[in-house]
């Protein structure tokens, strides 16, 4: 087991490295000269040249790259307007546009993203699984068809349309909810809930639809399994047959997918945050792309990749814990 974790860890590091390299190379090759942007208006060629020297942009690709990577582990120092700025490890760069360390920008915004992601995740997991199980039990009947239509609708509506529509209905027309703002739970739990409920719903709806279909399919398949027939043949109570022999096998794969989805969202729900104006990592991503703030774009890309890769590994390990066939090995 340790050996497996070890080799996975190694793989993870390699993938992260390759992602960093790839992303860095893309920016290096494709983006506009950052020195020009930083310089802003009233720029002279000498100043551009000066900035380029300061940033080390005259150096070859690999030097710059290793500089960046080195910064991730040991920190770097930046020259900004004559003063030096310390960037502690892991150094994700310095945003000249906002005059902030990228790391600080992200750290400020992570809690909001996490709140949105986790809240929505709980909603969609519960909603999706319950709807899926009900659909499977009442297969072909009205409830099943109703959920089928509902999920189809949910998957078809674009995120932002739903967000605006819900905002209009619940905030503007009915006045039940405030315009969503980032309220801290510790400040005011009730307001926190009321503010985040809309973003949660908007984000959860699409996923819930997928989870409903997935759960439904899994449960229907599992009910056909021979071991369910065995359980019934033993005269077990229906509740036991359901919990142990139908739901457990059917839902286990879903839990692992759930891990991956949440991990992906931690990198930021770009559209949801932007539409609601919530300052999470997602909105940061959108803003920085519009502004072409390279260090930030680079950093959020890395962050996202990091979460996904770690999530993947966690899910893998989770699988060895919950599926006996993976955990032990056939010794027959």
């Amino acid at each position: 087991m340790i050996r497996i974790a070890g080799s996975r860890l190694l793989g993870m590091i390699i993938v992260l490295f390759l992602v960093t390299l790839f992303t860095y190379a893309i920016f290096f090759l494709l983006s506009a000269d950052p020195a020009v942007q930083i310089c802003g208006k009233n720029c002279t060629p000498e100043r551009i040249e000066q900035i380029r020297l300061n940033l080390g942009l005259d150096q070859p690709f690999w030097t710059q790259f290793w500089g960046y990577v080195g910064g991730l582990f040991t920190g770097r120092t930046f020259m900004v307007a004559g003063a030096s700025v310390e960037c502690a490890a892991p150094c994700l760069g310095y945003s000249f546009q906002t005059s902030q360390l990228v790391g600080d920008m992200i750290v400020q915004r992570l809690p909001i993203t996490a709140t949105i992601a986790i809240g929505a995740a709980v909603l969609w997991l519960l909603g999706g699984v319950v709807a899926g199980v009900l659909s499977a039990v009442k297969e072909g009947k009205f409830l099943d068809r109703f959920f089928a239509g509902l999920t189809l609708g949910s998957m078809s509506i674009p995120n932002y349309v739903l967000a605006l529509a819900l905002q209009f209905i619940f905030v503007v027309a009915l006045g039940w909810l405030p315009f969503p703002q980032a309220v801290k739970f510790s400040d005011d739990p009730v307001q926190w809930f009321l503010n985040f409920i809309l973003p949660w719903i908007v984000l959860a709806v699409g996923y819930a639809a997928v989870y409903t279909r997935l759960t439904r399919a899994n449960v229907i398949d599992t009910l056909q399994e021979n071991y369910v027939r065995t359980a019934r043949a033993k005269g077990l109570q229906p509740g036991l047959v359901w919990r142990r022999h139908a739901l457990r096998p059917a839902l286990t794969p879903i839990v692992t997918i759930f891990g991956m989805d949440v991990a992906g969202l931690l990198g930021g729900a770009v559209i949801t945050e932007t539409v609601f104006g919530l300052n999470g990592v997602g909105k940061l991503t959108a803003d920085s792309i519009t502004a072409n703030d390279q260090p930030v774009i680079m950093a959020v890309t890395l962050l996202s990749a990091f979460f996904v890769i770690v999530g993947n590994m966690v899910v893998d390990l989770l699988y060895t814990a919950i599926d006996p066939r993976v955990r032990t090995g056939a010794s027959a």
Binding site: N226, Y227, R229, T230, G235, Q237, L240, R325
Partner: protein, 291 residues
């Protein structure tokens, strides 16, 4: 005759006029038609047929486990109680406790997520009230030992995939046994197993029957197996019983044409010439060349 004698000589299971039909888009389809047979106490009955004969549906209807859309009519009397139409709660009491069933594929018939011991003890915990987990666990170990699984105290905590095919079938038998049923229904229990393992499993079943006096219904397509294991036999074809009687009688002097030709078709290990001369296709699903 006194009541006592009556009870002992009355059959354990008595099936009369059993008809199983399914609702399909083309109307009801009868997969079993007007089936009659008895299983005497402690006796062994073989139900033999090729695919489409309805033999599996017969066993499922006795257990009340027909798939969706299937209905059974007629009479299935088990130890005096009519099973068809019995309330589900009471049927559950019969299943696994008084009538136990063993299926064909032991790997897919066991839940891969739970330990073998858990699955063996499940029935015991369900059917007997006031029983502790510890007790159930020792029942499970005992059942495994009875089916000759070595090192049972340790292997009771193993998962199904950690056993070989033959062992898994033993586990299924242990599950059936743990409740000391009066009747065991085995649906193709050895079809998926190697021949040496098959021999062991069939021996085991005979041993169990001798020890417990349980009755056996063995469902199979293998005439040779049935000839060695059972006393009586019902030959089914397309849902209908074409012949019924003592095994020796049916094999030495079959009355039905189908039985005769089926016997001709079975390859013999000690003879080559003479018997495999079947040239007609016997089962209608093969005759209908295009569906």
């Amino acid at each position: 005759m006194t009541d006592d004698v009556n009870k002992n000589s009355s059959p354990l299971l008595s099936v009369r006029d059993l008809t199983v039909s399914f609702r399909t888009a083309q109307g009801p389809v009868r997969v079993v038609r007007n089936l009659d047979f008895d299983v005497p106490r402690g006796g062994a009955l073989g139900i033999v047929g090729e695919s489409g004969s309805g033999k599996s549906m017969t066993s499922l209807s006795i257990m009340g486990l027909l798939p969706k859309g299937g209905t059974a009519t007629g009479s299935v009397r088990f130890d005096g109680t009519e099973l068809l139409g019995l309330a589900e709660r009471e049927m559950r009491g019969v299943r696994g406790d008084r009538i136990a069933m063993i299926f064909q594929d032991p790997l897919s018939s066991l839940n891969p997520y739970y330990k073998v011991g858990t699955q063996i003890a499940e029935a015991y915990l369900s059917h007997r009230s006031g029983v502790s987990r510890k007790q159930a666990r020792s029942v499970a170990i005992e059942a495994m030992e009875r089916v000759h699984i070595r090192d049972a105290a340790r292997r009771v905590d193993h998962y199904p995939h950690q056993f070989s095919g033959g062992m898994r079938q033993r586990i299924m038998i242990a599950m059936a046994l743990s409740m000391e049923p009066d009747l065991i229904i085995a649906d193709e229990p050895t079809t998926a197993l190697d021949v040496t393992v098959q021999a062991q499993i069939l021996d085991l079943l005979s041993e169990i029957r001798q020890e417990t006096g349980a009755g056996l219904i063995l469902i199979t397509h293998d005439l040779a197996v049935v000839s060695e294991v059972t006393d009586e036999i019902v030959v089914m074809r397309e849902g209908v019983a074409v012949e019924r009687g003592q095994v020796e009688q049916v094999f030495s002097d079959p009355q039905a044409d189908y039985t005769r030709r089926l016997l001709d078709a079975v390859p013999r290990i000690d003879d080559e010439i003479g018997l495999m001369r079947t040239t007609d296709i016997l089962i209608p699903s093969e005759r209908r060349s295009v569906r």
